[in-house]
């Protein structure tokens, strides 16, 4: 029984990492209607950057965040202004294909710089520490940190979107891009900022992924899939829904894994398909996909 409680708790906390993967995707889709096929590869790119910084300078990976997050945010801004903005032509084919090209380029550049070997970011023991809750129930310290960060990011985004002028501009553009433009909102700047925020969160997600698990240049697409599933399960435009989606994926994965090690990832995909069949708009839909 205690084992099962631990399994479910682990799954819930794993949801924090998936929610971090997903918020960036949710933001770029919510504001720009851009589904970034390279999203997972950007997570892996951030993990490699952190790996390079941590092993080269010998610093703590949490300190490295101070470097990686702004760097990824700047990269997101440039990427949006130089490449992605040109792809938002109204047809969904163009952004999908452009970001697919970006995904292939990123994977192969990573192979040529870092080789195809898998890596992990050394974090000095924090990733294995446990917090006993009594009665045999324990929580990993590191998953707790990830979950706290995910909740912090979501609260921060809610405040940004709900309480600031920039957030109002984001919501206006999400609702009706052309009218927002008529009201004097500079779309290109706003989209650049949205992508910068999304990629900043991707930087966070990448470093956290790299501390938790091994990664290699081809790992990106599977992370994109988790992120996408969390967004769809949660319902478009709902950030807390995304967290719930991440938790559903995490719990089904850890339960599946416990039943048979081969079923873990399969169980989370099946949970996603089940939600899709039963509630195609997700559990907590807020925005309509136009």
């Amino acid at each position: 029984m205690v084992d099962w409680i631990n399994t479910v708790l682990q799954g819930l906390l794993l949801g924090g990492l998936y929610a971090l993967f997903a918020t960036g995707l949710s933001l770029s889709f919510g504001i720009m209607r851009l589904v970034n096929i390279a999203h997972g590869d950007m997570i892996v790119l951030a993990a490699y950057l952190a790996y390079a910084v941590v092993t080269h300078f010998g610093i703590n990976p949490f300190v490295a965040l101070l470097l990686i997050v702004p760097a990824m945010a700047a990269w997101g801004y440039v990427l949006q202004r130089v490449v992605l903005s040109r792809s938002l032509t109204g047809s969904i084919l163009t952004p999908l294909m452009v970001t697919l090209g970006l995904s292939i380029i990123t994977q192969n550049v990573l192979v040529s710089v870092f080789s195809a070997d898998s890596r992990a970011i050394p974090a000095g023991g924090v990733e294995t520490a446990a917090v006993p809750l009594g009665g045999g129930v324990t929580l990993g310290l590191y998953p707790l940190i990830v979950m706290a960060t995910a909740i912090g990011v979501i609260v921060g985004l809610q405040l940004l979107l709900g309480r600031t002028e920039l957030g109002r501009a984001f919501r206006a553009t999400s609702d009706d891009q052309e009218t927002a433009q008529l009201m004097g909102i500079d779309n290109r700047l706003l989209y650049g900022l949205a992508m910068a925020i999304a990629m900043g969160i991707v930087g966070l997600a990448g470093v956290y992924l790299g501390i938790r698990a091994n990664f290699d240049p081809s790992a990106g697409p599977s992370h994109l899939i988790y992120a996408f599933e969390a967004v769809v399960i949660g319902g478009l435009g709902s950030l807390w829904g995304t967290l719930a989606g991440g938790m559903i994926l995490g719990v089904s994965q850890s339960i599946g894994f416990r039943l048979d090690p081969g079923w873990g990832i399969l169980a989370s995909h099946l949970a996603f398909l089940a939600v899709l069949v039963l509630k195609p708009n997700g559990l907590f839909p807020r925005t309509r996909d136009r």
Binding site: I104, I225, G262, I265, L270
Partner: protein, 355 residues
């Protein structure tokens, strides 16, 4: 092409009732380029079928691969270019075709070449329930949803010990007993049937009523529905037909590769390859994937010694084409030189203005 309005001038009021006039126009469905195209395609097909008598084994093998990759590209062209279904999960059906080959030839002992059409049928049958799930998603969500379905099939087979799980198995034993010349020639002939057949099939479909409806969907789904096109049914047919093509190619491809394993059979590389061919060549044109195949395999030959660079160049090329030339290389050339090797539209030519 301007219509002469004077042709429709009112007749003299006092004139006796005339016999019904022949229509003031005729429908033209061929161009000079298309007659050249048809002749060239016919000759090329004969030359390809005769390759075992005039080409060396390495060329036969390469041509087989080019042709089955072209077939894959045409199925995705039909899906995305005409059906508006941007699937990123067609590797599901390639992989299912590969495993259908294993089941029919290794487990049931059927001839490997008979397994090719059966693999297509199997993939099409599995596409029917898959469609009910993924058709709940639209646009970009459909793209990633189909991808998830492909992952589910990959993981299901990885967990099936009867099919050797993640290790995969070899189909060599199903091929022993077939003389090498016959084996290599039959692989080529099946590749010709799939590659030329998919191109010709797409052409004939697009010239039919069904194709007219498809093109209406491509241009505007709402408008097509309003004039009576059954959009959901048509999309469903296109999805199942594309699955058939992918399944047959999956079986053929793994007859040449000899070893079937889930990671290779359900690899995303199948998907990116077909997308590159279609996008670089020109989506929504029959000729586009042919041009795309020439670019794809030409670059691979040029950059054979630089695997990573080749992929980076392809990715960059696809991105650039999509941003600067969304109609693709062939689409661009066709617009500049008014080429149309496979005309699928109906042109009205006024009678008087003649040829």
């Amino acid at each position: 092409m301007s219509m002469d309005l004077t042709l429709a001038a009112p007749a003299e009021p006092a004139a006796p009732p005339a016999p019904p006039a022949p229509p003031a126009y005729r429908v033209e469905r061929a161009t000079r380029a298309s007659r050249i195209g048809a002749a060239a395609l016919g000759l090329a097909t004969l030359a390809l079928l005769a390759m075992p008598w005039w080409a060396d084994r390495a060329s036969i093998r390469s041509m087989g691969e080019i042709l089955y990759v072209l077939a894959l590209a045409q199925t995705w062209n039909l899906l995305a270019g005409y059906g508006g279904l941007i699937s990123m999960g067609q590797q599901a059906f390639v992989g299912l075709g590969a495993y259908a080959l294993v089941v029919f030839s290794l487990k049931l002992g059927l001839n490997v070449f008979l397994a090719i059409p059966l693999a297509g049928l199997t993939a099409a049958l599995i596409a029917i329930p898959a469609a009910t799930v993924v058709f709940r998603l639209r646009g970009a969500y459909f793209a990633v949803g189909t991808w998830v379905v492909a992952e589910v099939f990959r993981l299901l087979i990885t967990n099936t010990m009867w099919l050797a799980g993640g290790n995969g198995l070899s189909v060599i034993s199903a091929l022993t007993g077939i003389p090498r010349w016959w084996r290599e020639s039959a692989i080529l002939w099946f590749a010709v049937v799939l590659g030329v057949g998919s191109t010709l099939g797409l052409y004939l479909v697009l010239r039919s009523r069904f194709g007219l409806a498809l093109k209406a969907i491509r241009d505007s789904e709402a408008a097509a529905e309003s004039v009576g096109v059954k959009v959901p049914a048509l999309k469903w047919i296109v999805y199942v037909a594309a699955a058939f093509g992918c399944g047959a190619v999956g079986a053929l491809a793994f007859i040449t590769k000899l070893r079937v394993a889930p990671d290779a059979a359900f690899s995303l590389d199948w998907m990116t390859t077909m997308v590159f061919l279609v996008v670089i060549g020109g989506i929504g044109t029959i000729e586009g994937p042919l041009v795309g195949a020439a670019v794809f395999f030409g670059l691979r030959w040029l950059l054979a010694d630089y695997g990573v660079v080749y992929m980076i160049v392809l990715g960059a090329l696809a991105t650039l084409v999509m941003l600067k030339m969304p109609e693709g290389l062939y689409g661009f050339l066709a617009r500049c030189y008014r080429l149309d090797f496979f005309p699928v539209q109906r042109r009205l030519i006024p009678r008087d203005q003649g040829e």
